[in-house]
C-alpha cells in the first residue's frame, strides 16, 4: 500500500441485523490531510468512525488505519490513533494535570515524556495557572481545547474528532480549528465529523454520507462547482434531502 495513505477503506460495511448502517463505503485519506466526514444524524458517520477506531468490528469489506488491518490489528491501531468524542471526554473531578497524567499513563508513556508534554501543553493553552484546578471549574471552550490536546497527548498519527465543536462559541471554534491546522501541519492526519458547514470549508477534502453510503467526496471547492452553488450548506442540503432514512 501507498505510504502516503493514513486510512483506506474498501466496501466497508456494517450491518445490525437487517439494518445496514454503513453500506460499502470506500475512500482513502492521505497523511497529514484534514478529512471532513459529513452526514445528517443517522447517516452512519458514527458507526463508520467506530469501525475505524477499533470499537466495532465491520461486517464486510476491508479497512486499514495507519497501515493496520481493522480486523486483526486493532490493538496496534489503538496505539496510533487519538479520539475525541462529541461528549466531553475529560474527567471533571480530576485536575488539568491529573487528566493529562492519566491519559499519558494509559498510553504507556514514560514519566519524563508526560512531564515535558504536560508543560508544553499548559504553555500552549496558557493554562499554567489552572494546572491544578479541577477540570469542572474551567469554561466549556477551554475544556474542549484541553480535550483536544489530551487526545493529541500521545502524538498519534491520526486523530478522530467526533463533532468536536458542538456547543462551542464561534471564537473558540476558530481557535480550535487553528489547533487542528497546527496538528495537520506537523503531519497528523485529522478525521473530523461536523455539522457546521463553515467548518467543512476548512477541510482539505470532504465526504458526505447519505443513508449509509458516501454520496460525494471531493475538495470543498470542487463539490461546490459540481453542485452548482457557492456554499457548502447548499451542497449538503441537496444531498441530505435524498435521504430516505429517518434521522435519529
Amino acid at each position: 500500500m501507498n505510504n502516503d495513505t493514513a486510512i483506506r477503506t474498501h466496501d466497508l460495511t456494517k450491518r445490525f441485523g437487517g439494518f445496514i448502517a454503513v453500506n460499502k463505503i470506500s475512500f482513502d485519506v492521505k497523511k497529514g490531510e484534514i478529512f471532513g466526514f459529513l452526514g445528517a444524524n443517522g447517516a452512519g458517520k458514527t458507526t463508520a468512525m467506530r469501525m475505524l477506531c477499533g470499537l466495532s468490528i465491520p461486517s464486510d469489506g476491508m479497512a486499514t488505519v495507519a497501515g493496520f488491518d481493522v480486523y486483526k490489528e486493532n490493538e496496534k491501531i489503538k496505539k496510533s490513533i487519538g479520539y475525541m468524542s462529541q461528549q466531553f471526554s475529560l474527567y471533571d473531578d480530576l485536575t488539568v494535570k491529573e487528566n493529562m497524567r492519566f491519559y499519558g499513563g494509559i498510553y504507556g508513556k514514560s514519566n519524563q515524556f508526560i512531564k515535558e508534554k504536560t508543560k508544553l501543553i499548559l504553555d500552549q493553552l496558557q493554562l499554567k495557572n489552572e494546572a491544578n484546578l479541577l477540570v469542572k471549574s474551567l469554561p466549556l471552550g477551554w475544556k474542549q481545547k484541553l480535550a483536544f490536546s489530551v487526545a493529541m497527548f500521545h502524538e498519534p498519527e491520526i486523530i478522530f474528532l467526533d463533532e468536536p465543536t458542538g456547543g462551542v462559541d464561534p471564537v473558540t471554534r476558530r481557535e480550535f480549528w487553528t489547533m487542528i491546522y497546527k496538528a495537520a501541519a506537523t503531519g497528523t492526519t485529522v478525521f473530523v465529523t461536523t455539522h457546521y458547514m463553515d467548518e467543512a470549508e476548512y477541510c482539505d477534502r470532504v465526504s458526505i454520507m447519505v443513508d449509509g453510503r458516501i454520496e460525494a467526496l471531493d475538495t470543498p471547492a470542487a463539490l461546490k462547482k459540481n453542485y452548482n452553488t457557492n456554499s457548502m450548506d447548499d451542497v449538503f442540503l441537496q444531498l441530505a434531502r435524498k435521504a430516505t432514512r429517518k434521522s435519529d
Binding site: C53, G54, L55, S56, I57, E75, K78, K79, I81, Y83, M84, S85, Q86, Q87, F88, S89, L90, Y91, D92, D93, L94, E98, R101, F102, Y103, G105, I106, Y107, G108, L134, A151, F160
Partner: protein
Amino acid sequence: MKQFFVFIKKEFYHIFRDKRTMFILLGMPIVQIIIFGFALTNEVKNAKIGVLDFAKDAASTSLITEIQASRYFDIAQTLSSQKEIEPVFQKGNVKLVIVLPANFNAELTHLHTAKIQIIADATDPNIANQLTNYASAIIRDYQQRITENQQLPYTIQTQVRMLYNPQMKGAYNFVPGVMAMVLLLVCTMMTAITIVREKELGTMEILLVSPARPFRIIVAKAIPYLLLSTINIASILLLSVFVLGVPINGSIWLLLGVSMLFILVSLSLGLLISASADTQQTAMFIALVALFLPTVMLSGFMFPVANMPVVLRVLSNVVPAKWYYNIVNAVMIKGLGVQAIWKELLILSGMLIFFLGLAIQKFKIRLA
C-alpha cells in the same frame, strides 16, 4: 502494569473527591452498626405499662413492686377504674395494663388461686407477645417465691440454656447481616455505578479507544472498592467486638477469607449490572431491587428463612447473601471451622465463577 496503577490512582481520586461516595463507603458501615445496635432492637426495655390495682393489699403491692423493679417495665400509669384502660391504650401511653382483682391477697392465701388480667396493645403483635411473656414470667417468679416452702404434688422443671448467645442479644443476629449488606452496597452498587458513570459521561469510549484492554479497565475500577471493603469489614468487626460486645468465636482468618470470597461475588455482580445498565439510575435501581431487597428479606437476617413458604425458601437459595450470612453466623458466633461451612463455600465459589463468566461474556458482546 504501570497503566494499571495509573488507573487505580485515578479511581481513588474519584472516590476521595466525592463526599457522597466517601460517606457511603466509610460512614455507612458505622451508621448501620450503630442504628442496628442501639436503635433498632427487638429487645424490649423499660416498656411503659399501666397498673389497675383493685386490691391494694400486701400481696398486690409486693407484686407491683416486683414488676416495677424489673428492667423490662416502667409503670407509667396507675389507674383507678376499668373505664380508664381503653383511653390510655388509645393515647398510646402504655403498651400493657395489669389488672389485679379486689381481694387478691385473700384469694391467694385462702382459695390458693387468684386471677390477674394482662391486657396488651397488640397492634404490634411481636411486642405484645414479648411483653405478656415477660409479665407472666415475673408473676410466675413471684408465685414460686411465695410457695417456696410448700411442696407441690408434681413439678416439672424446665431448664433452658441459650446456646451461643446466652444473653439473647440482637446484635449476634444482625452483625452478620450488616456485614452482608454493607459489602453488597459497597462492592456491587458502587462498582456498578462508577462503571456506568463512565459510560454516561462518554469517557468509557475514550478508554475503549485507548490501548488499555477492556478487561483491565474493569478490574482496575473494581480494585479500589475491594480495598475499601476490607477496611469496612475491619471496622464492622472492631465495632461489633468492642462496642456491641459480639465476640468472634471462630478463626478470624477464616472469617476474613470467606468475606473476601463474598466481596468477589459482589464485585462480579456489580460488573454484571454495569454491563446491562446504561445510566446510573438504572444501575442503582437494579442493585436495589435485584440485590438489596432480597438480601434484607431472604438472607435470613431479618426474617427466618425456615418459616417462609416453599417458593420463597427456594428463591432464597440464589441470594448470595444468604450463604454468606450462614457462614458468618457459623464462624463468628458459633465458632465453627471449615468443615461446617464447606457447602456454603462451594456454593459461593460456584456463584463467583458463574457471575464473573456472565459479566465477561456481556462485556464482550457489547464491545463487538
